[in-house]
């Protein structure tokens, strides 16, 4: 084929142009370290990169959500730890007060200390975070949830809202518990029924331990246990129907309808003990009851037995409150563990995503640098041959 001078030149120029373009393209990839710099470099990879980038950003956000949750749960847990040690102290005090050697004046001192415990419990229930938001107020976190009314009772002004945070695409964790769940709605007594002693009793019979022996046989009702003689009793339900009767020996349990409770000492004929289905009460009310029990007089054998019974029942209430709040704390611990577990899952996932992202987006440097070397060599060769061949002309020899 004939070759015109123009062809010779334009072919060289085209080759130079192409070689330069390849060098620049590779150079851009080497300088950014990325194989895909714009969607057209690899459209499918570009879409995947966008997807992976936003997944990674979401994982970052989950980490920050989880840090926030851990912080809130930590605050709540430490508040509940204080609440629990407070209540345990009250329990110790109550046991001291229930000791037969304690005098009325001892018990008044103990009651005063219980009052202090109640005040600090109230402060704990109104705990705030660093931004002044109340931990136990539900959604209404800007106002103190627990307030003392004119009558001395504590009311709850929060709601039962529970805020959840997202810590993975499908997992949410609650970061607060409402005061209503933690400090209110605590079952009294043993959770099934409560016991009371008739203030008009004349004997020294005092209430002992109570329990549910057969839940299936239990019928929810108010029962009155009346001693016909110091050694016989009968049980009547709320409709005054005879349910059971039996002989009594001191220290022995009285059992009916799947429940039983012990009576210590010697009840007199006509003495009555009543069982009532357990209701719920708030922890402050329970402490109020405790204070009232501690402050009642113990003069006379019957009164002493009544005092003993009452404090015993209030200690039962306190145990129920303790176990309720310890459960709440356990729940918080479980959530914190869930956070840790999810964090580590998220970190694993992020590592996996980063590896994928890198394989999709990042440049194989060894390969790219080798290619750049070759391309530069090609460019150089093209330039040199161009210079050489341009020198060739027959006219030089004429």
């Amino acid at each position: 084929m004939r070759v015109s001078n123009d062809t010779l030149r334009s072919a060289f120029l085209a080759a130079l142009d192409a070689a330069q373009r390849r060098v620049i393209d590779t150079q851009e990839k080497v300088s950014t370290g990325k194989r895909v710099n714009k969607p057209s470099d690899d459209p499918v990879a570009a879409a995947r990169i966008a997807h992976l980038d936003s997944s990674l950003s979401r994982l970052d956000q989950y980490k920050s959500n989880s840090d926030f949750a851990r912080n809130q749960l930590g605050l709540e847990e430490s508040a509940l730890n204080d609440v629990i040690s407070n209540l345990q102290r009250v329990r110790e005090l109550a046991l001291q007060g229930n000791n037969s050697t304690a005098s009325d004046s001892d018990r008044r001192d103990i009651a005063a200390e219980v009052r202090q415990a109640r005040a600090s419990l109230l402060a704990l229930a109104n705990t705030t975070d660093v931004d002044g938001r109340h931990l136990f107020a539900g959604y209404i976190e800007s106002a103190a949830p627990f307030m003392t009314t004119a009558t001395g009772a504590v009311v709850y002004n929060g709601d039962q809202g529970q805020r959840t945070l997202q810590i993975s695409d499908s997992r949410f964790v609650a970061i607060n518990d409402s005061g209503s769940d933690v400090f209110q709605r605590i079952p009294q007594g043993n959770g099934t029924f409560t016991l009371a002693v008739n203030p008009a009793n004349t004997g020294t019979g005092a209430l002992g331990d109570s329990s549910v022996t057969n839940p299936a046989a239990w019928v929810r009702d108010t029962y009155a246990v009346r001693f016909l003689t110091p050694t016989t009793y009968e049980v009547r339900d709320g409709a005054n129907t005879l349910v059971s009767s039996g002989a009594f020996t001191a220290g022995q349990s009285i059992a009916f309808r799947g429940i039983e409770f012990g009576v210590d000492g010697n009840p007199a004929a006509g003495d009555t003990f009543t069982t009532t289905p357990a209701a719920t009460r708030d922890v402050f009310g329970m402490l109020d009851d405790m204070i009232a029990a501690l402050e009642s007089s113990s003069s006379g054998g019957a009164k002493g037995a009544q005092l003993h019974s009452n404090i015993g029942q209030r200690i039962n209430d306190l145990d129920s409150a303790l176990s309720h709040i310890i459960d709440s704390r356990g729940e918080i611990g479980a959530r914190s563990r869930a956070l840790d577990q999810q964090d580590s899952l998220n970190a694993d996932f992020a590592l996996h995503l980063n590896t994928t992202l890198s394989s999709v987006r990042d440049l194989d440097y060894a390969d790219a640098l080798t290619r750049l070397q070759q391309e530069l060599f090609g460019l150089n060769a093209a330039q040199q041959t161009f210079a050489r061949t341009q020198d060739l002309s027959l006219f030089r020899y004429l």
Binding site: M1, R2, V3, S4, N5, D6, T7, S10, A11, A14, K38, P39, S40, D41, D42, P43, V44, A46, A47, R48, I49, A50, H51, D53, S54, S57, R58, Q61, S64, N65, F68, D131, R133, G138, Y139, I140, E141, S142, A143, D159, Q160, G161, Q162, R163, T164, L165, Q166, D169, F172, N176, S180, Q184, R185, P277, A279, T280, S393, L394, F395, L398
Partner: protein, 629 residues
């Protein structure tokens, strides 16, 4: 003697002409479009001398222009294909680059907005996190706006490129008609040699023209060349040429259309223009820019609709029901410029999920309407009658026809293409972000059963009694009353809808147990609504299980793969073009070494002929001396 001189003279003259041609070839070696020339020599008629024949010298038959019409034609076709791809790539690259940046790209902005929502969900009372959300929302609006601006700039560039190209086509057409006139004047009918320079000029102009639009030519008997562009529209016929203009579109006044105005009435030739820069620019506008703008518009409408819907369901930090978060412009519709009736079409979006990223044409045939997609030409079935009470409904759009359209009137509908730049943030105060739900639920303090109530979900925010308190009280373990009235059977976990709030109760209730649904007064710590916004933004938004994220990925893939495809087309076409050009150049191009050899050859012959003249002269002198002698 005279013969000898004559022969010598013919040789001298012919070699002189040959040297002139060679030097002209050398002079034009770098002239674009120049075809090399050759002096064609023939032997002069021989004379009979007795039984012998004697030569009488050499004649120049012609100075031939060496070119190849078939290759020239191929070159024009290759140049048209290359220029189309090249113009397309030049416009596609900015769009491709716009979607590239992973830090400031669309996905990153949307993720930043979602992350800011998460921060508000973490701490809804914090005005700092609400403020941060507003600033991310502003960033998102700005991102969409800047993308739209970039696309509008590309659209403007398309228009000005088309205008410039159309003007050049017109000018070239006029020049070709002029060359035709001069060829006719030079008497160059078929078969006769034409002035080589005019032909070179014509080929050069045709080559330029083929870079702008696909060209076909037809050689006429009178020596003129007729030129057709696109799929056969007449640009030059004999000595007449037409004008190519760019005017606002008939269907869509915002899109340019190309009009050919020749002898007859103006004709819209937009859809017949193929190849060259004009074809590439039109193809880019139709195949890439318009779909990308519609896709972006659909993403914006989906996002705005989702966020607004959830925000309206919620309660802000001041206890008010939420208002719209963002706004976007409604769909546009245009009656075609050729309409003779007075009809108009109002279009609204009624179902975001069914939206398709395309424009539509609504055609009236005198009795009924048909809706046609612009992107693939498919006819979309509509329901309804087109009145305000019963509008046409198709693909998430409602059409209300007013006025009286005439038969064959057409309406162009743009539901999404223009909306990305019209997005605005309506919420300006951090407190106006509706993070909370308007109602909450409470379990009665004295409940002795184990039943619990869900946090509640708003199903009808427009219910006038939404904020009223409802008390669900169990009559026994299986029936309950609402606000002390009625007796409803209790199914654990079943939906209970009261005054626009939906709750579920699970577990075993006891007689007398109470659950209350009430206004979420003071509930600043509630994040249920913002949580549901995050949830909804991650869910499928459009039919076909397309989420916001997959719609964005779809846009990136579409633009990227189209750009990659046309770029590789361009590279292929470039090598086809250069091969064709090489082939043509190998026929018509000048090779200086060849010319140098020719020059030597002609020079030597010239010297020989001159020597012959000397010989003739010597012979003549010899005879004269003999006679004198």
């Amino acid at each position: 003697m005279a013969d000898l001189l004559n022969i010598g003279l013919s040789a001298l003259l012919s070699q002189q002409r040959a040297l002139t041609t060679t030097s002209n070839n050398i002079a034009n070696a770098n002239t674009p479009g120049y075809s090399r020339q050759r002096v064609e020599l023939t032997q002069r008629p021989v004379e009979q001398l007795g039984s012998d024949y004697l030569g009488t010298g050499v004649d120049i038959t012609t100075v031939r222009r060496i070119s190849d019409d078939i290759l020239a034609n191929q070159l024009r076709s290759a140049s048209g294909s290359f220029s189309r791809a090249d113009a397309f790539v030049a416009l596609a690259e900015p769009l491709d680059n716009m979607l590239a940046d992973s830090d400031t790209g669309l996905t990153a902005s949307m993720q930043a907005f979602t992350n800011a929502l998460q921060d508000v969900a973490n701490d809804p009372s914090s005005s700092a996190s609400r403020q941060a959300l507003l600033s991310e929302a502003r960033g998102l609006v700005a991102r969409f706006d800047s993308m739209d601006q970039r696309m509008t700039e590309l659209s403007d560039e398309v228009r000005s490129r088309l205008t410039a190209n159309a003007n050049t086509v017109t000018t070239i057409g006029r020049q070709l008609a002029d060359i035709n006139r001069r060829l006719v004047a030079a008497g160059s009918a078929t078969g006769k040699p034409s002035p080589a320079a005019l032909l070179d000029q014509r080929d050069q102009l045709l080559e330029q023209l083929s870079g702008l639009v696909q060209v076909t030519t037809a050689q006429q008997r009178d020596g003129t060349t007729s030129v057709f562009i696109g799929t056969g529209q007449v640009l030059v016929l004999g000595t007449d040429s037409a004008t190519l203009k760019v005017t606002p579109g008939n269907a869509d006044p915002l899109q340019p259309q190309i009009v050919l105005s020749g002898v007859g009435p103006d004709v819209n030739v937009t859809q017949f223009i193929t190849g060259g820069e004009l074809g590439g620019t039109l193809d880019f506008n139709r195949e890439m820019l318009a779909p990308a703008r519609s896709q972006l518009g659909r993403i914006v409408v989906g996002l705005v609709d989702t966020v607004n819907r959830v925000q309206r369901n919620g309660m802000d930090a001041e206890g008010q029901l939420g208002g719209d978060f963002f706004s976007v412009a409604p769909p546009q519709s245009f009656p075609a410029g050729t309409n003779t009736g007075t009809g108009a079409v109002g279009v609204t979006i009624t179902g975001v999920a069914a939206l398709e990223a395309t424009n539509y044409k609504l055609n009236y045939n005198g009795t009924g309407y048909t809706l046609q997609r612009v992107d693939n030409g498919a006819v979309v079935p509509m329901t309804g009658t087109g009145t305000a009470l019963d509008p046409f409904v198709a693909n998430g759009l409602s059409f209300v026809v007013s006025g009286s359209p005439a038969t064959n009137d057409q309406f162009y509908v743009k539901p999404l293409e223009h909306v990305a730049g019209t997005m605005q943030l309506l919420v300006t105060r951090p407190a106006d972000i509706a993070a909370a739900a308007p109602t909450r639920t409470t379990t009665g303090l004295g409940n002795s059963g184990t039943a619990s109530i869900s946090a509640g979900q708003i199903i009808d925010v427009t219910n006038v009694n939404l904020l009223n308190t409802s008390t669900i009280q169990f009559i026994d373990a299986t029936t309950y009353s609402v606000n002390g009235a009625g007796s409803f059977a209790y199914t654990p976990g079943a939906n209970i809808d009261l005054n626009g709030t939906r709750v579920q109760i699970t577990g075993t209730p006891a007689a007398g147990d109470q659950f209350v649904i009430q206004a979420n007064v003071g509930g600043t710590g509630d994040n249920r609504n913002i949580q549901s916004m995050i949830d909804r933004l991650g869910q499928s938004m459009f039919n076909g299980n397309i989420s916001l994220q997959s719609a964005t990925a779809g846009l990136i893939t579409d633009v990227g793969s189209h750009t990659a495809e046309v770029t590789s087309q361009r590279d292929v076409q470039q090598s086809v073009l250069s091969q064709t050009k090489d082939r043509l150049e190998s026929v018509r191009g000048v090779n200086l070494d060849e010319e140098a050899a020719d020059m030597l050859k002609f020079q030597q012959l010239y010297q020989a002929a001159a020597k012959m003249m000397t010989v003739a002269d010597t012979m003549f002198q010899t005879i004269l001396a003999a006679l004198r002698g």
